[in-house]
Structures are given as structure tokens and as C-alpha cells.
């Protein structure tokens, strides 16, 4: 959920609650006020009447008063005494010609030794309409206020949060291996300015760490080459000694083989860091099939020794712009890998179609197919390798903008889209 929506959602929930809870409360409060007001009025009528009572001498006077004061009703009391009471009843209103609620004060008076029941009534309808109108106006005011608040808040937020979203967008596009630096927009809001400075410093430090790590690999590999050369040369000199026993010969031979592996590993690490450092920038237009044929030729010894059949089919051949060295390494790693993992007497098929290369070879499925392009991820310790072959393939694809897809469907399949 976006931050803006989250904050606005809270406002809306609060506003709705306020609207729904407060409107009835408000209505009840207003109504209570009106009822009290009305009761006061009824009592006031009663007081007025009581002031007039001493002046009324005949029954006619009484009926005259009754006819003048519309809210005033008089009838002979059926019971006595009558206590003052106020209540609401539904009465027929001749004016409105319908039954409407009235607020009524019932009391009793004694005139010329006769007991009367007095009913003073006041229509509630008018006041109820008023209450409704007031509440409606109040509610719509509240609604408009909240709506305005939300809209203003949303727009304001959009403006205020703009630097944040710009920073976010730039960070998404940032690639530590490609972008040397990043320029983030300045903001006059302290928090965003702090964020910008913090991010820029973080990126600078990250970049430094990244560069020094890359340089470290390259430098370490370089520095290892000379002592390795010394070591290997001493072994070769030792080999020239007279009277070497077979045990000694075996030791020397094992040392030489281990040295070869270190040398190869080191060479490949160096290659990886060189690809990462873009030290193969020049590109040439190359025919894929030519390069593939050259690579197959290179491995002819292995192919005939392992009795593997390599079939190459070329369809609608395309030209690829790539660094020749990198393309050569890419193909040789892929093809040597397929030869390495295929059983003897099996068939490796390579097909080239327009700008893609498809290599299929039989073999056991990988245990961790998602990790095959990672460094030092070796599927099998039985087959000798340095665990960098496919990592180099992936690095070359990234550097040259190729796409490589691996899948397994009864056989290993590598597809490179140039």
C-alpha cells in the first residue's frame, strides 16, 4: 500500500466515523434543546392562563379564551385532582389535515367551583423540521470540511513527497557496476535532505567497497602469478634431478597437477574480474557458426576420446557484434561443459538459428539448477573443474548484452540469444 493512500485512508476512516457517530448525537442534542425550550413555552402558556383566570367570570369567557388561543383546550375533569404532566401525543391537526405529534401540558384548574382539565399543546412538527434542517446543514458542512481536508492533504502530500519518489526512482535505476555516481534532487524539507545526503554517502561508500573488492580480486590474482611461476619452475627443475624414486616422482607429479589447477583457477578469476572491469570493450562482427566450428575443432581430441557425436546445424545464420575473445571463451566454456557432463557415446547437438545458439547435451539433471551460474558452484566433485566456467559464461552474457537460459527436459539445454 502506498504511503499516501495509507495516510489518506486513515483520514477517511476518521472522517466517516465522525460523520456517522456525531450526526445522530448532534441530532439528539438539538432535539433535547428544542424539547426543553418547548416545555418552557408550555409552562409559560400555563402561567399566562393562570394570570388571566381571576378575570374570567363566566363559562363564555372561558370558551372565548379557548377559541382565541388555538393551543388551548378545556374540558371538564373526569377525575380530580390533576397533577401537571408533560407528554407527547398524536393529534389530528385541522390546519395540516393530518395526524401529527404534539407536545402537551396537562393541568387542572378550578373555575367557579367546577373542575376543568386544561390541555396546552404545541405542534412538534415545525421544530422537528428545523432540527433536521440544522443537522443536515451541519452534516454537509462537516462532510465538505473533511473532503476538502483530504483533497488538500493529498495534493500537498504529492508535492511534499515528490523528492522522495524521485530518490526512489533513481535508486531503482542505480547499478553499482555501471553508474559511477548518482545525483539526487535537493529538497527544502529537512528529512528528505537528510535522506538524500545519507543515501549519497552510502552509495559513495558502497561504490568504493565495490571497486576495491574488484581491484582486490584482480590484484590478488596478478600477485599470485609470479610466486606460482616460481613454484612451478622449481618443480620442473626438481624433475630434472637424477635418480628420482617412483615415490618422489609421484609426489612431484601430484604437485604439478595441483599447481596446474591453481594456475587455471587464478587465470579464470582474473578473467572474471577483467570482464567485470570492462577490459574487453572492442567489438567485431562475427559469424557464430565460424566461431562454433573453431571451438569444436579445439576440442576434437576430447570429442574423439570420449566418443561423443557433435552435430551442428546452421539455419538462417546471423552476424553478431561481440568481442572476439569473449565470444571464443563463451563458446568454449559452454561446449567444454557439455562435453564434460555428457556420458560417453552420447550426442551433443548444437543448433544456430538467426541470432540464437541452442546447445543440448544428455546428462544427469543438476541438483541446484538455479545456482549453476554462481561462482564455485560445482555440481559434481567427480568431474574435475574449477567451478567458474558457467559463472564466466554468465558474466560474458551480461557484459555483451546476451541472454542465456538454461532448462532441463530429459537433457540439458542452454540457449543463448545474441
Amino acid at each position: 500500500m502506498r504511503l499516501l493512500r495509507r495516510t489518506v485512508r486513515n483520514f477517511i476512516v476518521y472522517a466517516a466515523l465522525l460523520l456517522f457517530v456525531c450526526t445522530p448525537l448532534y441530532y439528539l442534542a438539538i432535539q433535547q434543546l428544542f424539547v426543553e425550550e418547548m416545555e418552557e413555552e408550555l409552562l409559560h402558556h400555563k402561567e399566562n392562563f393562570e394570570k388571566i383566570v381571576p378575570k374570567i367570570t363566566t363559562e363564555n369567557d372561558l370558551h372565548l379564551y379557548e377559541s382565541i388561543n388555538e393551543e388551548f383546550r378545556l374540558k371538564e375533569a373526569t377525575r380530580w385532582p390533576i397533577a401537571d404532566s408533560i407528554f407527547t401525543i398524536e393529534l389530528y391537526d385541522s390546519l395540516e389535515q393530518e395526524v401529527i405529534p404534539f407536545r402537551v401540558l396537562r393541568t387542572g384548574i378550578t373555575l367557579q367551583n367546577r373542575n376543568y382539565e386544561v390541555i396546552i399543546s404545541e405542534s412538534v412538527v415545525g421544530s422537528q423540521d428545523l432540527i433536521k434542517a440544522i443537522v443536515a446543514i451541519q452534516a454537509s458542512l462537516l462532510f465538505l470540511l473533511l473532503l476538502g481536508f483530504i483533497l488538500i492533504n493529498r495534493n500537498l502530500s504529492k508535492v511534499i513527497w515528490k523528492p522522495f519518489y524521485t530518490i526512489l526512482e533513481k535508486l531503482k535505476q542505480y547499478q553499482i557496476d555501471k553508474d559511477l555516481s548518482i545525483s539526487l534532487p535537493k529538497s527544502n524539507i529537512t528529512e528528505f535532505e537528510d535522506l538524500r545526503i545519507a543515501i549519497e554517502q552510502l552509495l559513495i561508500k558502497n561504490r568504493e567497497a565495490y571497486v576495491s573488492q574488484k581491484e582486490f580480486t584482480e590484484n590478488a590474482s596478478h600477485e599470485l602469478q609470479t610466486p606460482l611461476a616460481v613454484f612451478r619452475s622449481k618443480l620442473e627443475l626438481l624433475m630434472q634431478s637424477e635418480n628420482i624414486t617412483s615415490e618422489q616422482a609421484e609426489l612431484i607429479s601430484d604437485l604439478l597437477t595441483a599447481t596446474d589447477r591453481i594456475a587455471r583457477l587464478n587465470k579464470n578469476l582474473l578473467l572474471l574480474s577483467k570482464i567485470e572491469n570492462n577490459q574487453f570493450p572492442s567489438k567485431q562482427k562475427l559469424l557464430i557458426s565460424k566461431a562454433v566450428e573453431k571451438t569444436i575443432e579445439l576440442y576434437q581430441g576430447t570429442i574423439s576420446e570420449r566418443k561423443i557425436k557433435v552435430s551442428l546445424s546452421v539455419d538462417n545464420e546471423g552476424v553478431v557484434a561481440a568481442n572476439p575473445t569473449l565470444l571464443e571463451i563463451l563458446l568454449s566454456n559452454l561446449i567444454s561443459n557439455s562435453l564434460k557432463y555428457s556420458p560417453e557415446h552420447s550426442e551433443v547437438s548444437i543448433s544456430i538459428d538467426n541470432k540464437s545458439l541452442h546447445l543440448i547435451n544428455p546428462g544427469e539433471p543438476f541438483k541446484n539448477p538455479e545456482k549453476i551460474f554462481q561462482r564455485f558452484n560445482r555440481e559434481s566433485r567427480v568431474v574435475q573443474g574449477h567451478g567458474l566456467g558457467l559463472a564466466i559464461v554468465k558474466e560474458i552474457c551480461d557484459a555483451e548484452g546476451f541472454e542465456i537460459v538454461y532448462s532441463f527436459n530429459s537433457a540439458h539445454s542452454f540457449q543463448v540469444q545474441f
Partner: protein
């Protein structure tokens, strides 16, 4: 044959010298660019092994100087960088070959003898041992004037052993020499045994004496 080794890593330079002396080359050493320049200007060499990274300068400057002085020494660049730029730049500046550290001494031996053979080319570029003759231009091997039909790998193998004659050449060095980068695929020397068996068989059938000795557990040696 005089060889100048320009290499600041003394232990490596020493190994190279000892190995080359066994082939009765005369070796001189220079550990700095300054020393190297002095020696180059004073003496003539058949081959110079030149490390590019020297404590007091870049080896490529020495190469440049050699060209300016119109020296005709064969130069093999040695570099720990194994970088294409160094290689191309070095070859453009007139170096004859390029050797990346860590190299096999036998590989170095093969490169040196190839350069010296090229420099000493006097019309008939052939190598002869007893009844065995190799024509380097036609890549033809004959025993007692009879043609021996060798495959390319067998020919390369024979030449590699002869270039390091009287020294033990390891299987590892042979594997790398014959297959280059393809040696990466297997730590498996079966293919060398096969090539070696065929080579010895062909030479033997042609009536050559068996000069290639198997040094048990280590490799092979061409005795002459």
C-alpha cells in the same frame, strides 16, 4: 647461444637460467630495467626474455629502445597480467612471442628454440638427430630419408620434446602445449599417452632409434 633474462623476481630468473643452461645456453640476468638497458647496449643476444613489470620501469620501454637501436634480438615478453593489451602492444612493438606467468619451463624452452631457429634461418631450416630429420618449414619428418607420416599433434609433440631435449618434460606441460586452453576440460592425460604411443610406434617402424624415454610417473625425455 646467448640469452638475456630480464626478470625482477630473482627466484624465477634463477630457475629459468638453470633450465636453459642444461640446454647449454649462456644466460645473463638483469633484475632492473636500468641493468637490462646497459646489457642490451653492450652485448648481442640471441634471445631476450623480458618481464614487462619491472621495479624501475615498464618492459615495453626496453622493447621500444631495442627497436630504436635497431637490434635484431628475438624477444619473448613475460607478463603476469596475461592481458590482451600487453600482448598486442608488445607484439606490435616487435616482440616475437608472449608468455604468460605462470608458464612451464618446457614451454619457455620450446618458444626460445623456435625463435632462435627462426633467427638463425639459413636456407635449410631443419633439425637433425642421428637418422631423424625434421623440416620445420614443410613440417615434414623423415627417418633415413624415408617420410614418417605424423599427425599434426604428433608432429607438435615431437618438436616440443626436441626443443627440450635431454630434459624431462612433464605430462602437464605437454597437455597444455598440445591443447592450449582446451586442457581445462580434464585433468586427464590419456590423450597424451595415445599420441605418444603412436608417435613412438611410427618412429620405431621407420627404423629410428628410440630417443623418447618415458620417465616413470613424470613425463618424457628426448635423449640426443
Amino acid at each position: 647461444m646467448k640469452i638475456l633474462i630480464i626478470e625482477d623476481e630473482r627466484e624465477l630468473a634463477k630457475s629459468m637460467m638453470i633450465y636453459l643452461r642444461q640446454e647449454s645456453y649462456v644466460c645473463e640476468m638483469a633484475y632492473t630495467a636500468q641493468e637490462a638497458l646497459e646489457k642490451i647496449l653492450l652485448h648481442e643476444y640471441d634471445c631476450i626474455l623480458l618481464d614487462i613489470t619491472l621495479p624501475d620501469g615498464n618492459g615495453l620501454e626496453i622493447l621500444d629502445r631495442l627497436k630504436k637501436e635497431d637490434k635484431s634480438e628475438g624477444v619473448i615478453i613475460i607478463s603476469a597480467k596475461n592481458s590482451l593489451d600487453d600482448k598486442i602492444q608488445g607484439l606490435n612493438l616487435g616482440a616475437d612471442d608472449y608468455l604468460a606467468k605462470p608458464f612451464h619451463l618446457s614451454e619457455m624452452g620450446a618458444r626460445i628454440s623456435a625463435i632462435i631457429r627462426r633467427k638463425r634461418f639459413d636456407g635449410n631450416n631443419t633439425i637433425s638427430f642421428d637418422d631423424l630429420t625434421i623440416d620445420l618449414i614443410g613440417k615434414v619428418t623423415t627417418v633415413k630419408n624415408k617420410l614418417v607420416d605424423l599427425t599434426r599433434k604428433e608432429y607438435d609433440l615431437l618438436l616440443f620434446l626436441i626443443s627440450n631435449k635431454n630434459r624431462v618434460v612433464s605430462k602437464n606441460a605437454i597437455a597444455e602445449h598440445l591443447s592450449g586452453d582446451a586442457a581445462d576440460v580434464f585433468d586427464n592425460f590419456d590423450f597424451i599417452y595415445a599420441h605418444m604411443k603412436n608417435l613412438k610406434k611410427k618412429l620405431c617402424e621407420a627404423g629410428s632409434q628410440d630417443s623418447i624415454k618415458t620417465v616413470y610417473g613424470l613425463g618424457y625425455k628426448f635423449e640426443a
